[in-house]
Symmetry: C2
Subunit: 207 residues, 2 copies
C-alpha cells in the first residue's frame, strides 16, 4: 500500500520539480486561489499578491492566466495517472489491486484537496486544445481502473454486469471526494480511503 505522502508537509510537495523558484511560487499561489474561488473569480493580481510579487511578474513566467491553469492541470493529471498505474501494475489479486487503487486515489483527492479540486473541476475553463490534451490523460485513468476490473471479472473474482458503467462509477466516487472533503471534518484521508475501498469491493461483488 502506498504511503500518504501527499498529506505530509502541507500539500506543496508535488510542485517540487517546478523551476525556477519564482515560477513555482506563482503556481502554488494559483492552485490555492483557483481552489478557493474558482478560475474565473481569481484575478492575476490575487495570484501575484499571494506569491509576494507585483502583478506584472506573473507574465515573465507565464504567457497568460490560462497557461497557469493548463500547467496545474497537466501536472495534476499526470500524478493521478501515476497513482492508478502503480496500483494497477502491483502484485496481488484484482481485489487487492482495486482496493489499493481506490484507497490511494481517494487519499490523494482528500489530502491534496486544494490541488485535486482545481484538477477535477476547472477543466471547462481551459481552451479546446489544452482541454483535449487533458482529456487524453483522463482516458488513461479510466483505462487503468477498467483494466483491474476486467482482470477481476476474467479471474472469476468479481461479479460485474456493466464493466464500463461500474468503472465510471468507481472513478466518479473517488473524484467527488475533492468536492465534499473537509480538512477540518471528522475523517482523515486514510479513513475515507479505507471506507471507499470497502465500498468499491462491494460494488464489484468481490468474493
Amino acid at each position: 500500500m502506498n504511503t500518504a505522502e501527499e498529506t505530509a508537509g502541507g500539500e506543496t510537495s508535488a510542485w517540487g520539480e517546478v523551476t525556477p523558484d519564482a515560477a513555482r511560487r506563482l503556481l502554488v499561489a494559483a492552485v490555492e486561489a483557483f481552489a478557493e474561488r474558482g478560475y474565473h473569480a481569481t484575478t492575476t493580481r490575487d495570484i501575484a499578491g499571494r506569491a509576494g510579487m507585483s502583478p506584472a511578474a506573473l507574465y515573465i513566467h507565464y504567457k497568460t492566466k490560462e497557461e497557469l491553469l493548463h500547467r496545474i492541470s497537466r501536472i495534476g493529471h499526470e500524478k493521478a495517472v501515476e497513482i492508478l498505474r502503480v496500483a494497477a501494475a502491483g502484485e496481488g489479486s484484482a481485489a487487492e489491486r482495486l482496493a489499493d487503487a481506490v484507497s490511494s486515489f481517494v487519499r490523494w483527492h482528500a489530502g491534496g484537496r486544494t490541488t485535486a479540486r482545481v484538477v477535477q473541476y476547472e477543466l471547462d475553463s481551459l481552451g479546446p486544445d489544452a482541454r483535449a490534451e487533458i482529456l487524453a490523460l483522463r482516458r488513461q485513468c479510466d483505462a487503468e481502473v477498467r483494466g483491474i476490473i476486467e482482470d477481476g471479472v476474467a479471474a472469476g473474482e468479481f461479479d460485474v454486469l456493466d464493466v464500463q458503467g461500474t468503472t465510471l462509477a468507481v472513478l466518479s466516487l473517488c473524484i467527488d471526494v475533492a468536492r465534499w472533503f473537509n480538512v477540518k471534518g471528522p475523517r482523515t484521508p486514510e479513513e475515507v480511503g479505507a471506507l471507499y475501498a470497502d465500498l468499491v469491493l462491494r460494488m464489484v461483488g468481490a468474493k
Copy 2:
C-alpha cells in the same frame, strides 16, 4: 417508481411556477448560461441576450446577478429534497425505497443535467447567508438517505459498517452524475439510474 418527468419536454418544465413570464425566461436563460460557462464567467448581458431582452431588463425582476443564482439554487434543492422525501416515505422494504431514491435522484441529475450542474456546483458562488440557507436543504437530503439506510440496518436488510460514511458516498455518487453525464453519450438517464440503484444496493450489502 417515479416517472422521469424531468427528461420530457426539454428540462424547462420545472420552472413552470415562476412568474411573470419575463422573470421565468430570464431564470431559464441564467440556468443555461451558468451550466455552460459557470457563474463567474457568465455576464448579465449574456443572460439578458438569451432571454431576448436588453441588459437592463434583468434588474427589473432581480436585484443582482447573485439573486438569480440564489433562486435557481433554492428551487433546485427543494426539488431534490422532494424527490428523496417521496422515495423515503414510500411503501416497501428499505432496499426498494433506497433503489427508488437512487434511481429517481440519478435520473434527475442526468436528465436535468443543466439545472443539476448549477445547483450542485455553483454553491460557493453564493454569499454567506444564501449559502447557509441552501446548506440546510442539503442536510435534509442527507437525512432522507441516511434514514432509509438506518431502517435497512435496523431491519437486518443491510450490512453497513459506517452509516454516515456510506450515506455520504451514496449521495456523492448520485450528485457527481451531473458532472460527467453527457446527453449525447451512450446511456439514457433511466439506464444510469438502474445501474446506480444496483451498485448502491451492493454497497449497503442488501440481502
